[in-house]
Each structure stands twice: as structure tokens, then as C-alpha cells.
Amino acid sequence: MAKPKAISEFIIERDMEKCIKCQACVRVCANDVHIWDGESGETISRDIKCVGCHFCEELCPTGALRIKRNPSETRENAHWKKGYIYGITRQANSGGIILTGMGSDRPHKNYFDCLLLNAAQVTNPSIDPLREPMELKTFIGGKQDKITVEKLDSGGWSVKEKIQGLLELEIPIMFSAMSFGSISLNACKALAEAAKVSKIYWNTGEGGMHQSLYPYADRAIVQIASGRFGVNVDYLNNAAAVEIKIGQGAKPGIGGHLPGEKVSEEISLTRMIPEGSDAISPAPHHDIYSIEDLKQLIYAIKEATGYKKPVGVKISAVNNVAPIASGIVRAGADFITIDGIRGGTGAAPVAIRDSVGIPIEIAIAVVDQRLREERIRNRISLVAAGGFRTSADVIKAIALGADAVYIGTAALISLGCHVCQKCYTGKCNWGIATQDPYLTKRLNPEIGAKRLVNLLRAWTFEIKEMLGGMGINAIESLRGNREQLRGISLNEMELKILGVKHAGEAW
């Protein structure tokens, strides 16, 4: 047979009228797409190597470059899409699993797009957030079954019960777990700084905490995953909260693998593993085979941290998510993180990323419902993760029953990410998902932090406007308030599971 040629996904158009031959594109492309040919005095671009990250296009001082999708007409049809045909061709060449990065790009039904928000008209007034106070403050952690308020002699009031350690968030958004290893130290610094400024929390992921990030530890949620990388008593005690990671939305049921070539001296010190060795996180925690085992780990961590910090458990959204969440509450966790099918990753097999798990919208609804029915909803905070794109997604998740959301991809996009899905190659031109010193310096954490803070600020304004429109002045009044949502293009079963009425149905 004639072996099929590798197909270039992108084509590079160079406007020769505009190209000034400054060679900036040649110098910056980590994939060696552009090369300078001294003989002809021309820059040559090789489409086949292009991953479509648009770094050269953004940097080109004259706008001479355009990266476009290759319009070549593969004989695709409704069933045999281009991606599947290319995938098979690649696998027939390599015999390997097809890896990818970021969250799923498949057109799974998007329930956020099928949920519409309410607004106040005539019978209840809407609120203008610019003129009236609007409360977005959120507390993460278990809350008491009841509180007793006592009047003090001084005239004030005091709560009798001792409230255990809670995380105080200025807005119900946090940065999701991305380890130093999967992303660069500069990216971690930008996230940590932005979390500090915006008074929210960032998450170390399972890679331990680099020494230079300890000043941001009081705004950090530290993770303990199956690899137990970088876990020591300082790591736990410096943090604001601890999260046990059981699963990740992009790859439920499988572990992680940071290739040895990425394990630099800094990463080896942070993860406490030899330099250059593969960092493998096993699929399961080998000491957790039941809720009882999970309880042991939760309480071991609580003992180590003196019962001062909330301990959470992160699971991916799967069929049994509601009963598992119930078990997690009973195991003593203070918050539960659920990561939906569209959750991002540094590397995962395409087949798993796109086919395993359930959408986060459904997971939030069923977990919130189940915990309410069992009357244990107050004992835990529900943090949702996986594909939050706008402030509207955030507010819909909260109305469905989440306490707060984690944003990962959205945060990275504000740092420059163009969602090219090549995180696993370690050649991120934007300096995010790489450890190459030539590339990591491209992310200036000062600029990054500023942009992240801007993003959160913008979403805060939007959330306040939407809340005000509903006539609500505190995010707490929206939490689990599904009357503020209506479904559209959803069937009866979907409406029932989401616990929302169809558009057009009055209260």
C-alpha cells in the first residue's frame, strides 16, 4: 500500500508584502515551524509542524502571518469525522494511545447553554449593584446543623457554637488544581499572586509546593493525590485547606504520568523524587478502597493539621457521584470537589477524555439533591469544576447547588493559552504547560497575575449584575435556588434530573 502521509492540521499564510524578515517567528516557535533560509534570504514555514497555538501570529510586528485550519477536504462524512480518520491514520503509524491536553472538545450536550436565568419584573424589584450592596462572600467548609445566638452584656450578639475553620472567599470562584510540573512555576506564581490579591484560593495540584510559593501558602489549597508527591507536614500546615484527589474530570479512573524529562531540579525538590525520574500517580490510592479507608486518610490529615483546616475530597463526575458524595460527607470531609467531563488536563488519552464521566451540570444537581434529601447538605461545601467559560456558567452552577466553582482553562486562557491542546508535548509556546527554560520565561507572572485579577474582577461585576437582575442581593440566596433557572431544549428526564422547570412554566 501507499503509506498515507502525515496531514498538516494547519496552514500558515505569510503575506510577503508585509513580511519584513525580522525572523521573530523563527526565534519564538518551539515547534520549529519557521526556519530562516540564509541562502534564499527567506523565511520558510512548515505547515506540518504547526500546532495552531497562534504565538507567532500574535507576535508578528506587521501582521504578516495567518494561521488557518487546513481546508483540505478529507473524505469525511457525518459519522467518519476528520478527527477520527486522522486519529486512525496516526495510530496505524505509531501503534500508540493518542494523547491530548485540555478539556474535551467533543460536542456533548452543554446543559449550561440549555439553562436560562430569571429576572425580576414588576412584582419584585431588581437591584442595581452599583448603588446597593451586593454580597458574593462565600465560606467553604462544613457548617453547623444549628447555631445558637446569644446576646452579650455589651449589647452585641455572639454565636455560641465554635465554628470550625472555613475558607473565606471574596467571590465564589477558585483556581483549580494545576501542579508545578504540569504547568510552569511562573504560571503557578501568577495564579498564586492573583488568588492573594482577589482574596480567593489557588490549588497546588498534586505536585507539592515550591519553596518560592510558600509566601502564598495561606491562599493555597494543597492536594494529596495517589502519588503523594511533595507531601510533608509543612506542606499541610502552611496551607489554607487540604484536598484529597481521587479523580479528575478529564480522566476519571486513570492516574497521571509526568515524564522524566520534565522532572527538573526544582520539580524534583518540590515533588521529593529523584531528578529525571518519571512521576507516576497510580490510578487508585492504594490505601483507599472504601469510604472507611477514605475516612482514615481524612482524619489522619485532620490530626496532622490540628483540626484547624478544612479537608476536601475531589472526585470526577461519574454515574454514582451522588451516593459517593454522600459517603464522602459521612467520612468527615468539609468540602467535596466534583470535576465534570469537560474538565481540563495536562495529558490524557483522547478516548478517555471524551468518553468517560458525566457533565458537571448534572453532577451538581444530583449531588445537591441527594445531600438535601439526606439532610446533610450543610455539613459539606460543594465545589464544581470542569469547563466554566463565563460568569453565566458560574452563576448557573451556583443556582443548581454548587457553593463555589474552580476555573482552570479559563484562568490559563487569560494567561495566554489558545487551547491548542498540546499541553502534553511540553512545548507550550506561551510558557504555561512547559518546563523548558526557553519557554517558561515567556510567562511574566506580574503580567499574568494582573490579567487573572482583571478576569475575576470582570466576572464579579457580571455576577453582581445578574444577581441584581433577579432581585437577589447575596449569592447565598441563589445557592441551590433552582427556581431562578429554566430549561430549554431539554426533555422531561433531563429537567427532572436537573430539578428545573421548563422555560415558560411559572413558579
Binding site: I20, A24, R27, V28, P61, D436, K441, N444, E446, I447
Partner: protein, 157 residues
């Protein structure tokens, strides 16, 4: 003496794209238009920036506008002089005879020779007619910053 604003370089964030040079050349060209400067008929000026690179570390360095500038001391015609209003070290092409003593004494090596007219030229003038030098404004990663005489960063905002 007025102390000039200075350019502060952050080698940790220089991505080595050399766009500072491109914008320096554009700014000092006749038309100040990037495409005309590079592709038009006008003479393309030299950039006042020296780009250094070793391994993954790179940075762009330009004239530091020293408080005690040896190039001014060494200049036999007074072509190299200090601007009294801004404190910048500037170069007057009309007076320059091309002895290149300034190049000899510059400890940072940030003055370039002009082989065409045999004059010392291409020295950073902190972009005389701009508030922010072109390299500072266009550095994509803010690896080149403008700082005031006390070392505080001056931002465009």
C-alpha cells in the same frame, strides 16, 4: 543635574524575539512606518539596542545614560553631550568626526559604529520624541521597563 529615566532590563522575562530592535529601527527611521522602514527605499537605520544571548538567557541592553559618562569625557568635539533638561546622553551627528573614542571607552559596549559615514552612531536616545521608548512600549513580555531616577517602574496606565 537632572537624572534621566532609565531602562531596566529583566533578563528572566526576555523571550528573545528581538522585537525591541525592530521597533527601535522603526522609531528612528525617516517614515516611522515599520513596513517602509524595512522594505521601502529609505535608508534603514541601525538599532540602538544590543541583544545578548547565551543558552536560555537573553536580554537587550541599550545605553545606560551614565551619571558620569566616559563617552562625554572622551569626545574630542563635544558631539556626545548631556541634554540639560532630561539628563540623557545624546549624540550630535553634525559635530561627530568619527574618532570612535566613545566606543573605546564605553564599558558596556552599547555604542555602534557607522561604517557608511564613518561616524559613531546608533546609541539609545530613550526615544527623544516619545514619552515611552519604543522598545519599552512594544516588549511583549514587559522585559524592558522604564524606571524613574529612584528606580520606580513607570507604567503607561
Amino acid at each position: 543635574m537632572v537624572k534621566p529615566k532609565r531602562i531596566h532590563i529583566k533578563k528572566n522575562y526576555c523571550i528573545g524575539c528581538r522585537l525591541c530592535e525592530v521597533y527601535c529601527i522603526t522609531q528612528h527611521s525617516k517614515s516611522k512606518d515599520i513596513i517602509k522602514a524595512y522594505r521601502g527605499k529609505e535608508v534603514k537605520p541601525e538599532s540602538g539596542i544590543f541583544f545578548e544571548e547565551k543558552g536560555s538567557i537573553s536580554f537587550a541592553i541599550q545605553c545606560r545614560h551614565c551619571d558620569e559618562a566616559p563617552c562625554i569625557e572622551a569626545c574630542i568635539t563635544g558631539a556626545m553631550y548631556r541634554d540639560q533638561h532630561t539628563g540623557r546622553v545624546l549624540h550630535n551627528r553634525e559635530k561627530c568626526v568619527g574618532c570612535w573614542m566613545c566606543i573605546m571607552v564605553c564599558s558596556l559596549g552599547v555604542i555602534k559604529m557607522d561604517q557608511r559615514e564613518k561616524k559613531a552612531i546608533s546609541k539609545c536616545d530613550l526615544c527623544v520624541d516619545r514619552e515611552f521608548p519604543a522598545c519599552v512600549e512594544h516588549c511583549p513580555n514587559e522585559a524592558i521597563c522604564l524606571v524613574d531616577s529612584d528606580g520606580r517602574k513607570i507604567t503607561e496606565e
